[in-house]
């Protein structure tokens, strides 16, 4: 009965707690996401958004609770290339001597042999992924020469090349140009139709209303979780942001 229940969820996080050397970053957090769902992760800086991502990718160990990815452990999900992580632009060294092609190829490393020799299928996957984010003209550009939007698309291509069924995106819309923003929103619709599950953190409330079926409001723990139309209310947002009213945060229109 339990296992059947798990199978319905791509991501099933139950009461997870994370601490960094005794400092609690996240406690009793729950999240259940099905294939084809897009969920927004909203919270203040330091509310545990990145920690939540880190727990799902296995980059930090949870001290309590349970995470099931497709009904399996996080370790299995890593081995199966189930989860792709698209970092914030600030989270990567843009001066690293590496080309667009090499970054996207890193999406294939997990399914290659120990020497990471690309096979024909890997090369094709990388080509397709770069094509989908419209960077074919910049194949061999060092990432240091790209704009913020192009760099963001490079890491999206890496996630596409990885062929993951779950995408975790940290601030996908911050610091990108209009063209990239449009391309990312088109990709989201395609991903949704392909049955991928997307969890994205964002500061922009308009994006939440536009793309997200579900929203997870957190402040060290879950403040509210559910359908965007029901949960994304001024009251909940105010609670999430420590009593500051949404009018002040996003202007009177929202």
């Amino acid at each position: 009965m339990e296992t059947i229940n798990y199978q319905n969820f791509r991501i099933d996080a139950e009461n997870i707690c994370v601490d960094y050397n005794g400092k609690v970053a996240l406690y009793d957090a729950n999240l259940k996401l099905k294939p084809g769902q897009i969920c927004g992760l909203v919270g203040m800086n330091g509310a545990g958004k990145t920690t939540f991502f880190n727990a799902l990718t296995g980059f930090v160990n949870i001290s309590k609770g349970k995470i099931r990815i497709n009904g399996e452990s996080v370790r299995t999900a890593q081995k199966d290339q189930t989860i792709a992580y698209v970092p914030q632009n600030e989270g990567i060294d843009s001066q690293f001597p590496i080309s667009v092609w090499d970054v996207v190829m890193m999406g294939r490393y997990g399914s290659m042999n120990i020497f990471r020799c690309p096979r024909e299928s890997d090369v094709q996957a990388v080509k397709d992924a770069i094509d989908r984010v419209d960077l074919t003209d910049h194949l061999s550009s060092p990432i240091g020469n790209l704009s913020g939007g192009q760099r963001k698309r490079t890491f999206l291509a890496r996630a596409i090349a990885q062929r993951a069924s779950i995408l975790l995106l940290d601030e996908p819309f911050s610091g990108v140009d209009i063209r990239t923003e449009k391309l990312i929103s088109e990709l989201f619709i395609q991903f949704k139709n392909e049955g991928k599950t997307i969890l994205l953190s964002t500061h922009d409330m308009i994006h939440v209303r536009e793309f997200c079926d579900l929203v997870l409001l957190i402040n060290k723990t879950v403040v509210a979780y559910g359908e965007t139309s029901e949960v994304f209310t001024p009251e909940n947002i105010t609670t999430t942001f420590g009593g500051i009213s949404p009018d002040f945060l996003f202007g009177p229109e929202s």
Partner: protein, 290 residues
């Protein structure tokens, strides 16, 4: 007589080669430079310059103890090199002291322990050669050990080159796709300890960190491709070693210092004249906007 002999470039280069110790020094130093240069690309990109300094100083007591017990000095160096990093991590985690402070106090502690041990343990350890290197006086057993360690490090770095590059660039992605980040972290540390051991024969413990960061920094200014960076780093390290040894031979200078100084000059040259990232190029870049 000396003045006359290097009037021609030919004899400047060939005369020293008639000495057995010079041929050995040139070969071994080139090998050591190549190993350290290779590793240097990873360390500069990972931002481990301070870590390199810490590990290279911390191997000191290990080398002394190993000599005293008749064990291979690489073993002692390895234990203390990795041990120092573990200790740094432990103290950082368990106290509120900042990381650079912890690194500084741990490696100086180890280094001091090494110096005290040398003075206490009566043996044929030459403190001067450990501190400042002695590429001209390298023994046959040292030669064998150096070749073995160098090959080991080069093979390890070659096999895991792409994984290590990913680890330096984006460890979170590495973890997400199931690559063993813990293993890569300690692999890089192991290579660092081993390279420090072979490097200290060339330039000594105090300057070995230069072998581990300067070639990589030079290469970083000259290219935007990781593979090219590795090649440039290795070449600049080898060339510096050759220049340093020749110069020290003809002008009777400290060999280790000469090698490192040659590396520094190559770096300065790149800093000034690098086609893309040199400061003269950057000045030109903005000249057009005036």
């Amino acid at each position: 007589m000396e003045l006359c002999s290097f009037l021609t470039l030919d004899s400047f280069i060939t005369d020293p080669l008639t000495h057995d110790f010079m041929r050995k020094a040139l070969l071994m130093s080139s090998l050591v430079a190549a190993v350290c240069g290779f590793l240097s690309s990873f360390l500069t990109l990972k931002g481990w310059a301070l870590m390199g300094d810490a590990v290279s100083h911390s191997v000191m007591p290990g080398v002394v103890v190993a000599y005293a017990l008749g064990l291979p000095f690489s073993l002692g160096a390895f234990i203390f090199g990795v041990g120092s990093v573990a200790l740094i991590g432990f103290i950082k985690q368990k106290s509120r002291v900042k990381e650079d402070t912890v690194i500084g106090l741990v490696f100086t502690g180890f280094f001091a322990l090494g110096i005290v041990l040398v003075s206490k343990i009566k043996s044929n350890i030459d403190l001067h050669s450990i501190l400042f290197g002695s590429p001209l006086g390298i023994s046959l057993s040292d030669v064998k050990q150096t070749i073995f360690i160098s090959l080991l490090v080069v093979i390890l770095l070659s096999i895991f080159r792409k994984d290590l590059m990913l680890y330096c660039f984006d460890p979170r992605h590495a973890k997400t796709v199931g690559i063993n980040v813990f293993f890569l972290h300690y692999l890089l540390l192991t290579c660092l300890s081993l390279a420090a051991v072979v490097g200290l024969q060339s330039v000594g413990i105090i300057l070995v960190v230069a072998m581990l960061i300067t070639p990589g920094a030079t290469a970083y200014l000259l290219t935007d491709k990781f593979d090219n960076m590795t090649v440039i780093s290795v070449l600049s390290a080898i060339i510096s070693s050759l220049i340093g040894i020749y110069v020290s031979f003809w002008f009777d200078l400290e060999t280790g210092g000469s090698i490192v100084l040659a590396q520094t000059f190559i770096f300065l040259f790149a800093f000034l004249f690098a086609p893309r990232y040199g400061i003269f190029k950057l000045k030109k870049l903005f000249a057009g906007y005036k």
